[in-house]
């Protein structure tokens, strides 16, 4: 479904990604982890073209990102993305947040979109909050609306960029539960997170990054029971407390 081939990226002189390669199959839940500044967020933002890269290629659903013939907007509409800071549009209600892209990009009718939005809100457990503005919702609720917003485009893959790291501890689980349900329903997911509990429950693989390189790419249980690199060991010992 997604092929990442030898991707290099620089900010000016600073190399932030080097020789990154990985492939993600349909239905897989891939957890990307690593210390901060290791290039995890940058890598997944390359997958939907929000960040440019100088070398290599990324292919999504057999379409190369870096190609003049690819319509990047069409490609993005098939790839859902959830952000660390939710990025709900503050001037729109939950329903309006969810229906904006389906109406403008997929040209669906308002009634159809609103109906679908209500279903999605129900799915993330927020049926009663459709008419509220983001500022009236808690962080956990906002992030669940953001997930519903991405799902409204019927994406073939969902990208999560540290979806719980801006949340208060008591709200993390309500978001993770939604993500676990989504994983169990068969959604292809790429998740940048430090929540190793999530990885252990539903993750199929773990990609461990450090200093812009993919250091390990392992089946989930293997990574936790027997990490190869010293860096991954050090990282795990810091992050898994129990």
């Amino acid at each position: 479904m997604i092929m990442i081939e030898a991707v290099d990226k620089w900010y000016g002189q600073l190399q932030v990604l080097s020789e990154c390669s990985a492939s993600i199959d349909q239905g897989e839940v891939v957890v990307v982890c690593g210390p901060s500044g290791s290039g995890k967020s940058t890598l997944i933002k390359c997958i939907n073209g929000l960040e440019e890269f100088q070398k290599g290629q990324i292919t999504v659903d057999r379409e190369p990102i870096k190609s003049a013939s690819t319509n990047i907007y069409k490609l993005r509409s098939k790839v859902g993305m959830v952000f660390q800071n939710f990025e709900l549009y503050p001037h729109l209600t939950s329903i309006e947040n969810i229906t904006l892209a389906p109406m403008k990009v997929l040209k669906r009718s308002r009634e159809e979109c609103v109906q679908r939005a209500r279903k999605l809100l129900q799915q993330v457990g927020l049926s009663a909050h459709g008419e509220k503005y983001p500022s009236q919702l808690s962080g956990g609720q906002q992030q669940r609306v953001a997930i519903a917003r991405s799902l409204a485009m019927d994406p073939i893959v969902m990208l999560f960029d540290e979806p719980t790291s801006a949340l208060d501890p008591e709200m993390i689980n309500e978001v993770l539960d939604v993500m676990v349900d989504l994983a169990k329903s068969g959604m292809t997911m790429v998740v940048v997170t430090h929540e190793m509990g999530f990885a252990q429950r539903v993750g199929s693989r773990v990609i461990f990054m450090d200093a812009g390189k993919i250091v390990e790419d392992r089946k989930c249980p293997d990574f936790f029971s027997n990490p190869n690199s010293d860096r991954a060991k050090a990282f795990l010992s810091k992050i898994v407390k129990h």
């Binding site: 939907n48 907007y73 859902g80 800071n85 990025e87 990009v105 953001a146 917003r149």
Partner: protein
Amino acid sequence: MSSFDWTVITRNVPWLWAGMQLTLLLTALAVVGGITVGVLVAICRLSSWKPLSLLAKIYVDLFRSIPLVLAVFWFYFMVPIITGQPVGPFYSIVIAFTFFEGAYFSEIVRAGIQGVRRGQLSAALATGLTHFQAILHVVLPQAVRSMYPLLVTRSIIIFQDTSLAFVVGLTDFLTSANIIANREGRPIEIYCFVALVYFVVCYAAELGLDRTTKRVTR
């Protein structure tokens, strides 16, 4: 001129009101035209294509370095030459204000757009919206909310600045009043009244702005 005769105002209400109507029309056209030009120039200014943003910057800097009176003279002189026919002071003034205020509005709009968090644009793009749609539906509506106080303040300034139409003899509120003052020989009463009217309108608008800002910028 030993005593005041305030009936000079009541006697000339129709003239003054006609002048005020022209002032209000001029203000409305200048605000609408200025904001339209301002949004376009701001988008050019923020364009990643260097020549376009440089051109927009030169436009803004040029208009902001000259006084409005000079801009009014420029357009009053240039518009008939460019269009090849006399257009009268009204259209010249409207065009002058549109381009002049466009430069000031563009700076307000630019700051407003830059004030919207970068992540909002990313989020909109990530759902498949085009750049234009993302700006139109996500960035601009938020920018407008934060710009609201500045836009209104600028509109109040424009209301005051339309009085400079005096220099080309367009019969706005001030010019009408001036004609009456000369005809009746009562400059004191007339000019005091003019100042009072401007003050009341602008101050009321200022109070209105204070009361609505919280609601709009929520």
